[in-house]
Structures are given as structure tokens and as C-alpha cells.
């Protein structure tokens, strides 16, 4: 359902309900999958037709697929509206209503009672559809989009140096992901690596410091330390919490700092969001520029993070290596987030040709980021990806009031410029 259609539907729900109760009629459609039943039905239809008109042009065959449209009314027996026979070549032939009336009532009753193997018709195959049909096909596509970004539907999914998912069994996967995208610092803009367990609904991981080597740009990424976190995601809402602590780091690991004179890391984060999914795009048959048919998931939410600034010089008498000089105020980095994820429908080779995502994070102070991700799958096992992040504003840390501040050594104010970063990559699937 497109967004305007959704809003219209909400506005007119009372009218729709009144309208439904007045007419009380809905149309249902399906394909008969019980081949014996459809053969039997079509044979009787053809027999009746040839009896009435022996010269009739028989476009309909016993082996055709039968499509049924019925009208449902409250407290009234289901009524056959129309039926089609679809040939193996895909030609759709409507069954003559007059002939249908000549068929035995028990046969029609069996047809409309649907007590045989059947299947839903896809939305585009039902011309009477208002576009608001909730179908299993649509939900499966929604889930593909969600799975593509949350984890993977493949056994092994490696986005080189960005993430790795290894599904050890259908329920659990080992997950390794770089960055903290939920607070606006994906892949290369946060020197953190999350390693843990991923499932359909949650990820439970420990965080480790890392350094991402393959980015272009002028950004000063967040530094990382050891910690942990938990993320969850359902079709309608999700969230996360995480923490890191510099006390867990040892001096021998200082190599992974971007600049050990100016270290910034996020010691705690939290996020929560609401999401919904729509169908977008047009079929490949339509002329001109078009977005391939797929699912668009939109998320709206808020996230919290606290950044700590300091350096790693060792002061006499101190047992820890990281010296904190300032940290952001509790509400300073409370950000609103909007995220859009798009995945084109899976093709017959079971992959999504296109995957796109973009996320905007913005705080009350104007600090924030815009991130994007584009992926084009070329082969069943290979795709090329490009992702990036842009921070339009710097963040000031005031060190002068801190007890660890050393005049003539520490800057009075440190201005952190996260800048921009672009990261090309490839993904390999098995």
C-alpha cells in the first residue's frame, strides 16, 4: 500500500465500514490447484457448451488452470461471480455465464465452497482489486526486504570488511558487523566491531575496537573499545542498547586509535523505532525509467548516545590509560532518525537485484549524519556495494573545567569533525 493510500484508507475507514455494511458484498478470487477437480469442472463445462453449440470455438481445454471469482454476502450463500480458464500459454478465457448457469448446481456449489487445493491470486491478477489486498505474496516480499538488511536469507553473506553473517542453523547465525549505524555511525565512521549471535528477532553481541582500512574521505571516526549490546527488530518496531568502556582496553591496543591525542568514543547508546513496509515500483513490461518492483521499509524513531572525549597519555599515579576530559551532556545527542530500506523483489535465481538504504540522524543541536548504502547484485554469489556517511556539523568538547585538564598541554576546546567517508565494497554469498 502506498503511503497516501494508507492515509486515505485511515480517513475513510468509517465510510468504508458503512459502505460494506450496506452492500455487505466482497469479491474473493483464487486459483484451483486440485487438477482433478478443475479437469472435472472444465470437462463438464465443455460438454455443456458443445451440447448447446456444437460449432463453438473451443479455446478452453480441460487441462487449463481455473480461476474463480465469488461474491460473499453476509448470511447469504457464496455466489459465483465469474470464472476464467488460463491456458498453458497464459491466455485468459472467461467462462460463459450462461453456460455456467446450465451446469449442475452441486458442481457450482463445490466450486465456490473451495474445499479442494487452491491458491491465492497475486494482486495484479485481480483486476477488481483496490490495491489494498493483504496477501501472502506481499508479506513474503516485505520480509525479504527486512531480512536483507537485518541479516541474510543466504547461508553465508560476506560484505567484504563490513559485515559477515554465517547461518549456523536456520534459527541462529554468527554475526560480525562494523560500526554503529543505529546512532548514525555506520561501518567506517565508527572503529567498532560487533561480534555475536543473530536470530530472526534479536542480536546479542560483544563490541571490540577495530580500524576500518578501506574508506575514502576526510572523516575522523569514532574510536572503539570493548563492550556489548543487544538489538531487536520486528516488522513494526525495534530498538537497541549498547555500551563500551575504556577501562577494558589495554595500552598495547592503542594502535587502533585514530589519534591517541584526541580520542572520542560512545560509552552508551540506545535506540527505538517504529517501522512499516510498502510496495513500490513498476513491472519490467512498462516503458521508460522505472524502479523495479520491490518493498520499501520506512522506520521512524529516536536514538540516544553519549560521547566521551579524552586522550590516552598516562598520568603519574593513574592506573588507567584513557584520561577523560569531557563528555556530551545527557540530552545533547538525543537524535531523531528516519531510515528507508528498499529491496527489489527476489528474482527466479533467489536474489534481490537492488538493495538501497538511507538514514538521517539529527539532534536538537543540529548535529547529525546522512548515510546511504547501494548494492547491485550481479551474480547469484556476488554484488558490488557503495556506502557512505556525511556529517555536516562538528562537535565541541570543552576540556578546561575538567580536573585532568593540563594547561599548555590540552586544548581548551576540542572541535571534532567527523566529516565524510565513502566505502566501496563487494559482497559474496553462498
Amino acid at each position: 500500500m502506498k503511503l497516501p493510500a494508507k492515509i486515505m484508507l485511515l480517513l475513510f475507514i468509517p465510510l468504508l465500514l458503512i459502505g460494506q455494511s450496506q452492500s455487505g458484498a466482497t469479491v474473493k478470487a483464487w486459483i484451483v490447484k486440485d487438477r482433478n477437480f478443475s479437469r472435472e469442472f472444465l470437462r463438464k463445462y465443455i460438454d455443456t457448451l458443445t451440447k448447446i453449440d456444437p460449432m463453438a470455438d473451443l479455446e478452453i481445454q480441460e487441462t487449463d488452470e481455473l480461476r474463480v471469482f465469488v461474491i460473499l454476502r453476509q448470511n447469504v450463500e457464496t455466489e459465483l461471480d465469474k470464472a476464467y480458464a488460463t491456458s498453458r500459454g497464459g491466455a485468459l478465457n472467461k467462462l460463459d455465464k450462461e453456460i455456467l448457469k446450465q451446469l449442475p448446481p452441486e458442481l457450482i456449489k463445490s466450486l465456490v465452497s473451495r474445499q479442494y487445493a487452491w491458491d491465492m491470486l497475486e494482486e495484479f491478477e485481480i483486476s477488481e482489486s483496490s490495491g489494498d489486498i493483504v496477501s501472502v505474496f506481499k508479506e513474503r516480499n516485505y520480509k525479504q526486504c527486512r531480512d536483507a538488511f537485518w541479516w541474510t536469507h543466504r547461508r553465508v553473506d560476506i560484505r567484504v570488511l563490513q559485515r559477515l553473517f554465517l547461518r549456523i542453523n536456520p534459527k541462529f547465525a554468527l554475526a560480525l558487523e562494523f560500526g554503529q549505524p543505529e546512532i548514525g555511525f555506520p561501518t567506517s565512521s565508527s572503529s567498532t566491531m560487533n561480534f555475536g549471535l543473530a536470530t530472526e528477532v534479536f542480536k546479542f553481541y560483544m563490541t571490540m575496537p577495530s580500524r576500518y582500512p578501506g574508506s575514502l574521505g576526510n572523516g575522523h571516526p569514532l574510536d572503539g573499545s570493548y563492550g556489548g549490546g543487544l538489538k531487536f527488530d520486528t516488522p513494526t518496531f525495534g530498538g537497541s542498547v549498547s555500551f563500551q568502556d575504556m577501562d577494558f582496553r589495554k595500552s598495547s591496543e592503542e594502535l587502533t586509535y585514530y589519534d591517541n591525542k584526541d580520542v572520542i568514543y560512545s560509552n552508551s547508546t540506545g535506540s527505538i523505532y517504529y517501522s512499516f513496509t510498502n510496495r513500490i515500483g513498476s513491472s519490467e513490461d512498462e516503458p521508460g525509467f522505472k524502479i523495479p518492483q520491490g518493498s520499501l521499509r520506512m522506520s521512524f524513531g529516536a536514538c540516544y548516545s553519549q560521547f566521551v572525549y579524552g586522550h590516552t597519555d598516562t598520568l603519574e599515579g593513574e592506573q588507567h590509560k584513557f584520561i577523560e576530559l569531557d563528555r556530551t551532556d545527557p540530552m545533547e545527542l538525543l537524535q531523531g532518525t528516519v531510515r528507508a530500506e528498499y529491496a527489489s523483489d527476489m528474482n527466479d535465481k533467489h536474489y534481490n537485484k537492488w538493495k538501497l538504504a538511507s538514514q538521517l540522524n539529527i539532534s536538537m543541536t543540529g548535529f547529525g549524519s546522512l548515510q546511504f548504502y547501494v548494492s547491485r547484485t550481479i551474480l547469484e554469489w556476488l554484488s558490488v556495494d557503495l556506502s557512505g556517511t556525511f556529517f555536516w556539523k562538528s562537535l565541541d568538547f570543552d576540556t578546561k573545567g575538567n580536573k585532568h585538564y593540563v594547561a599548555d598541554v590540552d586544548p581548551d576546546t576540542f572541535t571534532w569533525k567527523p566529516g565524510w567517508l565513502i566505502t566501496p565494497s563487494i559482497s559474496i554469498y553462498f
Binding site: L72, M120, V201, F204, F243, S268
Partner: protein, 412 residues
């Protein structure tokens, strides 16, 4: 407590189910079938709609699936692309069953195959269809009650949940019982969201100043702070992670600091727990039993308040409030975890008359808890805690006893 005592206690609790003659899960049919509950909401709604549609098309008197119903799909291990049976309802009011061929009539081919592909969506494995229904409800009650809830609204001192839907709710917790720090002993309370599978939210200093702790001095408790927590309960695995900090911003408004009446504060800034859950119904005892072995860890941050700031400190006060020295301002504890829960038979098939739990978190405490359900709406829990290092730590009492009260509302 010495390690030998810990091991002895561990062994005693381990063999207890054998002494009580607990029944193992009957899995006769489970060799041929597998069953799971459909938890992925969009698919669940599609099944609900399909049942309504089938009833209106055929005129059959097939009952609707209600939002609170458990919806179970069963497939044969030899035909994994088909749903053999659908069951829906509750353990209290019973289940409706849609049998083999009719499943296809109700769902249609694609929906049936989608539901049969259980590994492609959010589901929870269940053994409910393979067990004797006479002895099953207690285990289901325990599974649901300890992480999630059996009620629409649960209000209690240690834990409250308001269920927003079948699979989500708002959560409040006071203290952290699984970490061995119930009620005020943890110095924190937590608010967040909960589902049958995970919970997540923020921790904050304990604002509550009610309850009795006979045997404990008022200052013998941890301080609070601001932080987050997350926990999951999935496929018999449980894990949780908690963190908080108490910085200058928080200290000035931290109500838990007043309780210790001291400039020396201690708070659990990081803690975690993981365990595996084994459960069995018990015929002779007419109830259900769960045993949960695992491990736990924590880190206590010892700080001194200096000008509304928390500085690392290397001194602490012993039980006589005399200064002694730490080797490290942060103390790390690590140990095994073992918990046992018992539920008595359900009265009127709704609630157990009592629940009993014993828990050893060797990083913190030994705890036992008894909950008496007066009726389906009111329960009285009492918790006794023995702190393993209570002799030495100024933030742990030697013993503490906590009284509570719980209200459950289902119809409002």
C-alpha cells in the same frame, strides 16, 4: 561460601528432580512431527484472515482465531513442505484443530507452504502437541510467567508488565533477581519494552523507598545510575546484559546515594548472565519443574564522591565501617549460575497455588523465593537472600529478606 559448598549445593539441586520423580517430556510423536508457534505477526494475521474467510465461504462453523490465542503449526518430518495440522486456542480453554487436508483448504497452497517454511520466519518451537495435556499447563505457565506474563496487567513490586498486544508490552522491574540482587539491593530500577522473546530498556537509580529488609543495614546496598539493559529468552537459551554509569550528571540527582549515607559509593556498572533452560512436568508432585544452569559475571565500580563527581577509590569500609584497601577500584566477579523453579498444579487451570524458586548465582548470592497465590489476582512473594561475600563487602548485606505483593488483572 567455599567452592566445595557451592559444588555440593549444585549437585543437590541437580539431583532434586530425580528425587522428586519428575517425568521427562513425552516425545513419542515428536519423532515423526515437529511443532512451533507462529510468532511472526504478519503471517499470523494471514492465517487468522484465512480462517475467517474459510468460514464465510463455506458457511462452516469453524471458530475464529482470537488475538490472545496460541497458534501452533505442525508438520511431518517426512513432508516438510506441508502443514500437517493447525492448532489454536489456549491451554486453559483448550485448542481447536484444523486437520491435514483441511489445512490446505483453509490456507491455500502458497500460505500453507509459507507457514511450513518455519525456518524463514519468527517462530518458537513447542512440545505442547506431544504431551499429555493433563500435566502440561504448569510448564507453560512457568515458561511464560518468568520472562513474560500470563496476565494482561501484572503489577508487582519487583516486576510489572502492561501487555499492549499478544507479543509486546511495557515493563517495569525493581532490582535484578537473576543477578541475585532483588528489590532495593541492586540500587536500580528498569523500564522498557518486553515481548515473549526479548526485553530492552533503560536502568535508573531506584526511586522506590519501600519494603522491609530484615537483617540488612540500610546502607548495605549498591548504588544506582543511568544505563541500559537487554535480555532474550529464545529456544531455551537465556541471556542478559546490563550496564550503567554514575557520573557527575547523575550523582546530583541519584536518590539511591542517600541510602548509603556516605561519600563512598559502589555500583554494578556491567553485568551479564546466560543460561540454558530444561523443564519437565511432574506427575507425582502435580506441577512443573525447571532447572537452569549457566554463568554470570559483574563488575562493581567503587567511587568516592568529590564535588558531585565520582572518583575511583582504593579504600572501602568493612562491616565495622573501618577503612581498608582495595587492590583495584573495579571489582570483577564471575561464577556459575543455577536456578530451579517449581510451580504447583494450576488451580481452576488458571494459576498455581504457589511457586518456589532456588537460585545460586555464585558471583553474588544464594536466593530462595516463595510466592503464594491467594487467588488468580493477588500473590504474596517472599524472597530470602544470602550474600556469598556479605561478610566482606560493604555494599552487600549478609542476609536480606524481601516482601512483595503482586496484582494480576485479566479482564478490564
Amino acid at each position: 561460601m567455599t567452592h566445595k559448598k557451592n559444588i555440593l549445593l549444585f549437585l543437590m539441586i541437580l539431583v532434586m528432580p530425580l528425587l522428586l520423580n519428575a517425568d521427562l517430556l513425552k516425545q513419542l510423536d515428536a519423532r515423526r512431527f515437529e511443532a512451533w508457534t507462529i510468532e511472526y505477526e504478519p503471517y499470523r494475521l494471514l492465517v487468522e484472515n484465512a480462517v475467517i474467510e474459510y468460514a464465510s465461504i463455506t458457511g462452516d462453523d469453524i471458530p475464529e482465531i482470537y488475538p490472545g490465542d496460541i497458534l501452533i503449526a505442525i508438520r511431518s518430518k517426512s513432508r516438510k513442505n506441508q502443514v500437517y495440522q493447525l492448532r489454536y486456542g489456549s491451554h486453559v480453554s483448550g485448542f481447536n484443530v484444523i486437520e491435514s487436508e483441511m489445512v490446505n483448504w483453509v490456507l491455500g497452497s502458497t500460505l500453507m507452504m509459507t507457514i511450513a517454511e518455519k525456518d524463514q520466519y519468527y517462530h518458537l518451537d513447542t512440545t505442547a502437541p506431544f504431551q499429555d495435556t493433563q500435566i502440561k499447563p504448569e510448564l507453560d505457565y512457568l515458561n511464560k510467567e518468568l520472562f513474560w506474563t500470563n496476565s494482561s496487567l501484572l503489577i508487582g513490586l519487583s516486576r510489572s508488565i502492561y501487555r499492549l498486544s499478544n507479543s509486546s508490552g511495557l515493563l517495569f522491574e525493581w532490582g535484578n533477581e537473576l543477578m541475585g540482587l532483588p528489590h532495593a539491593d541492586a540500587g536500580t530500577m528498569r523500564i522498557g519494552v518486553a515481548t515473549p522473546v526479548f526485553k530492552l530498556g533503560m536502568q535508573m537509580p531506584s526511586l522506590i523507598d519501600i519494603g522491609i529488609r530484615p537483617g540488612a543495614e540500610d546502607w548495605e546496598r549498591l548504588n544506582g545510575g543511568i544505563g541500559g539493559f537487554g535480555a532474550f529468552n529464545y529456544s531455551n537459551f537465556y541471556g542478559e546484559l546490563n550496564f550503567l554509569t554514575n557520573t557527575a550528571d547523575v550523582l546530583s540527582s541519584d536518590p539511591s546515594i542517600n541510602k548509603t549515607t556516605d561519600s563512598l559509593i559502589s555500583y554494578m556498572d556491567v553485568s551479564g548472565l546466560a543460561y540454558v533452560n530444561f523443564g519437565a512436568p511432574m506427575k507425582k508432585m502435580k506441577g512443573a519443574f525447571q532447572i537452569k544452569p549457566g554463568f554470570a559475571f559483574y563488575r562493581i565500580a567503587n567511587r568516592k564522591i568529590v564535588d558531585v563527581d565520582g572518583e575511583k577509590r582504593l579504600i572501602y569500609r568493612n562491616k565495622n565501617r573501618e577503612n581498608e584497601h582495595f587492590n583495584n577500584a573495579n571489582e570483577v566477579g564471575f561464577g556459575f549460575f543455577l536456578r530451579m523453579d517449581y510451580s504447583s498444579a494450576l488451580a481452576h487451570n488458571i494459576y498455581p497455588k504457589f511457586l518456589f524458586s532456588m537460585q545460586l548465582n555464585s558471583a553474588t548470592s544464594f536466593l530462595s523465593k516463595f510466592t503464594l497465590n491467594i487467588n488468580e489476582s493477588i500473590a504474596l512473594p517472599i524472597t530470602f537472600v544470602y550474600y556469598l561475600d556479605g561478610e566482606n563487602k560493604d555494599y552487600f548485606p549478609r542476609f536480606a529478606t524481601h516482601f512483595g505483593i503482586q496484582f494480576r488483572l485479566d479482564k478490564f
